[in-house]
Symmetry: C2
Subunit: 492 residues, 2 copies
Amino acid sequence: MSYQKLEQHQQQIHRLSHLSAICGWDQAAMMPAGGSEARADAMAELGVLIHQKRTAPELGDWIANAECEPLDEVQRANLAEIKRHWQDASLLPGTLVEALSLAGSKCEHAWRSQRKHNDWAGFAVNLQEVVSLSREVAQRRADALGVRPYDAMLALYEPGMTSARLDQIFGDLSGWLPSLIQQVSERQQSDALLIPQGPFPIATQQALGREVMGVLGFDFAHGRLDVSSHPFCGGVATDVRITTRYNEQEFISSLMGIVHETGHARYEQGLPRHLLGQPVAEARSMGIHESQSLFCEMQLGHDPAFLALLAPHIRTHFGDQTAFEPANLVKIYNRVEPGLIRVDADEVTYPVHVILRYELERDLIEGRIEVADLPELWDGKMQQWLGITTQGNYRDGCMQDIHWTDGSFGYFPSYTLGAMYAAQLRFALERELGNLSQIIAAGRLPEIFAWLGRHIWSQGSQHSTDELIRRATGEPLNPHWLRQHLEQRYLP
Amino acid sequence: MSYQKLEQHQQQIHRLSHLSAICGWDQAAMMPAGGSEARADAMAELGVLIHQKRTAPELGDWIANAECEPLDEVQRANLAEIKRHWQDASLLPGTLVEALSLAGSKCEHAWRSQRKHNDWAGFAVNLQEVVSLSREVAQRRADALGVRPYDAMLALYEPGMTSARLDQIFGDLSGWLPSLIQQVSERQQSDALLIPQGPFPIATQQALGREVMGVLGFDFAHGRLDVSSHPFCGGVATDVRITTRYNEQEFISSLMGIVHETGHARYEQGLPRHLLGQPVAEARSMGIHESQSLFCEMQLGHDPAFLALLAPHIRTHFGDQTAFEPANLVKIYNRVEPGLIRVDADEVTYPVHVILRYELERDLIEGRIEVADLPELWDGKMQQWLGITTQGNYRDGCMQDIHWTDGSFGYFPSYTLGAMYAAQLRFALERELGNLSQIIAAGRLPEIFAWLGRHIWSQGSQHSTDELIRRATGEPLNPHWLRQHLEQRYLP
C-alpha cells in the first residue's frame, strides 16, 4: 500500500530531523564559538538531504494512490498532513529557496550589528532583497494554493488562517483594546511596587527554575533546561530542550520565561507518543503552540493563586524579602506599561505590537507598501496605539525583531492568536473544572494539565486548528475570551 | 576529474558524520534517559545514510580513475585513505554488518546487568554469537585484503600493524616487564603516602579541571568539558567534546582523566585544518591517538615537575593539605599495584592486561580457542603475570570490558602501542628540546605541544603510522623506549 510507504518515508524524515533539532539546540546552548562554521556546513548538508526526501519524486504518486486506499480516521488526517508538508516543500523551485536562504542569512547576520548602530539605511538594502524574494515565494505559493499571497505565507505557520479572518479578529481587538490599555494604565498609576533586591546567583536561579518546572509537571526523563542567549523550546518530543537566560540582578523575567517555555515543552511531551514520527503526531500550529506557553505563563503563571504558590519557592532559594509577598509579585508580573519593545511587553499591550506588525507585513508582502515606508508607518501606529514614538529610533522600532530578516513573514499573528486561544481554553476549562485560581490554590495543577493533555496535546494534528478549538471549547476562535480575561484580571 | 568528485563526496560524509558525532556526545553527556530509544533510531537512520554514501557504487570507478590522475603528495595520501575507508565499508555484505550490529547491541545491553551479577553462563551465549559473526567478518576481510583474519581486524584500528609484529613487540615486553613489576612493587612496599581528605565539591573539581586544561593549551573556542559515565573524547576537530566523571570523595583520578582526554583533544584540535573534511586530515590510528592522550597523562602528567606545577592549582581550589605536597602527589600517581581491572591499572602493569587480551582475542578470532575456554585461560594468565586469580570472578575477569561485547576485536593492542609510541616520542623530543622535566619546570609547556603538533598532529593521515613515527623519532616503533621510561621513572 502506498500509505505504508508514506509512513515509512515520514519516519525517515522524522529521524533525520531529530538529529537536526538536537544539533540546532547544541548550536544555541552548548557549541563554542569556533565550532560554528563547520556546524553550519554540516547542518546545511543534512538540510539538503531532508529537503530531497521531502520532495522525492515518488511522493506525488504515493499520495494520489493513498487517497484512494481504505484508511481510518487518524491515517486520513496523517495523509492530509503529509500532503500539506509535501506541497510546502515542493511548491518552490530550489533556486528560489536557496536565494531566500542566502539573502536571509546575510540580512540576519548584518542586522545583529546594524540594529546596535541604529543603521536603518544599511539594513533597508538587505531587507529589500529579502522582501523581493519573499514576495516571489508568496506569489508562487498563492498561485499553487489558490489563495492571497499573504495567506499563502500564513499557511506555513497557522494553516487554515486567512488575512480576511485576521482583519476581523484584530479589528475586534482594535475596538476595545486601546481604551482597556488606557483604563488599566490609569488604575495602576498609583500602585507602588517593591523591586526584589539582588544579586540572585545563577546557580540558585537555575535550581529554582527546575523546581518550578517540576511544579508544572515537566518530565525531566524526557527533557532538560539549559542556557542560551535567546530562550527557546527545541529538541524533539521525546527529549524536549528548553532554554532561558539569566541576569544576576533580576530573576523575575527569567523565571517566568522558564514557565513560558515549560508550556511549550509540556505540549511537545504530551503529543501522541504512539504516532511518533508521523506528521499527525506533531503540534497543530504555531498559534496553538503559543497558546500552550501562554496558558502556562499568563493564565496560570500570572494568576495570583499561582504566584502565592511560587512565593515560598522563591523564599527558600533567595531568603526573605518583603518584595516576595504574593501581593507584590502580582503587582510586578501584572504591571501594564506601554513600551517600544515587543518581547518586553505585558499581555495587555502585547497585541498592539502584533497587530501593527501584521498590518505592515501583510501590505509589504502584497506590494501595497515598500520597505522605505516602514519607519514612518511604524511610528504612526505606535503613536496612535500607545502614544509613544519611534521617530529616528529604528533600533527600537522596525529593526527590533529577527523575524523579517530571514523572511518569516506570516509568523507574528501566531503570538496573539496564541493568547486568544489560551484565554478561550481557560474559560472552557473553568466551565468543566471550576475556577482556575481555586484549582491552583487547592494544589490541583495536574487536573489542569490533564485537561490540556486531553483536549490539545494528545490531539496532535488530527484536526484542523478550528476543529481542535471547537472540540475543546465548543466554538471557533472568539476574541471575546481574551477581552473577558483581561478585564477580569486588570479591571476587576 | 574523479579525484575532485571524491573530495566532494568525502566532504559530504564528513559533514553528516559531524552531526552523528555531536549527537553521540549528546547521548552520553546530555540526553535524559527517556530520550534514548528515539535517539537510537535517529542515529541508526543517519548511520544507514552514511553507510550508503561510503559504499556508493560509483566510488570504485572514481578511485580507479583518480589513481591515474596527476595528484600532489597530499592528494595521493588522501586518495589512499579514501580507498582504505571505501574498502573497509564495502568489503562486507550488508546482512553480515547488520547481524553483527544486532548481536553486538544485544550482547552489550545484556552484559551491563550480567556483569553485575557475575553471570558468565548467560553472557557466554551472547558472546558466542558475536564471536561467530566476528570470525566471519575477519575471514571475509582477510580474504579480500590477503592477510590473516586477526590482522584484518587489527587493520580497522591500527592499519599496517600485524600480529606477527605484535607477537615480536609484546614478546619483547614479556621478557622484561614481569621482573620490572616485581622490582617496583618491592621498592614501593615501604612507601607511605597520604590520601587527600574530601569532600571535593564537583563544581570546584570542574573549575580545577578547566584550569588544568588551560595549562595544557586546550582551545576552549573549539571544545568543551562535560560529564559522562564513561569518560571519552568526542565531537569533531573544530569542536572537541571531552568528558569526565566526578566523585565527591576523590579528585585524583578524575583530574588525571581530564589530562588524558585533553591529550586526545589537542591531537584533534591540531589536525590540519585546511584539509578538514578529507580523510588525510584525520587522526592516523587508534594507537597514535592513544599515544597523545598517554603522552599528556603519563609522560607529562605523571612527571614530578608537572605534579609540582599542579600542586598550587589544587591548593587554590581545595585549600592546604599535606597530601597536596608535590612529593606526595608523585607517590599517589606513580603507585604500582597489580590488580584485576584494566582501567584502574597503573602504567607499569597496564601492558599485562593488554597482552593477555591480545593473545586471547587473536586465538579466539582465528578459531584456536573457544568462548568457553576464556575464563580458565584468563585466570591462568593473570596468575602467571600478576600472581592474582580471577577464578569464579568473571565480573572482574573476562567480563570486565565492553570491547568484545560489540565485536571490537583488534582494538586492545592500541592501548599499549600508544604507551610505546608516547615513550618513544618523549625521548625523541628530549633529544631535540632537552630534558622533559626541566622543560616543564621552566614553564615551557607550549614548546612540547608545538613539537607534537609539528611531528604528529599536523601530519594527519598523510603518512603510514610507521612512516609517521620514523619521521618523528628516527626509527620505527621500538619497545625499548617504554622500558627506558619505566626504568627511569620507577627504578631510578
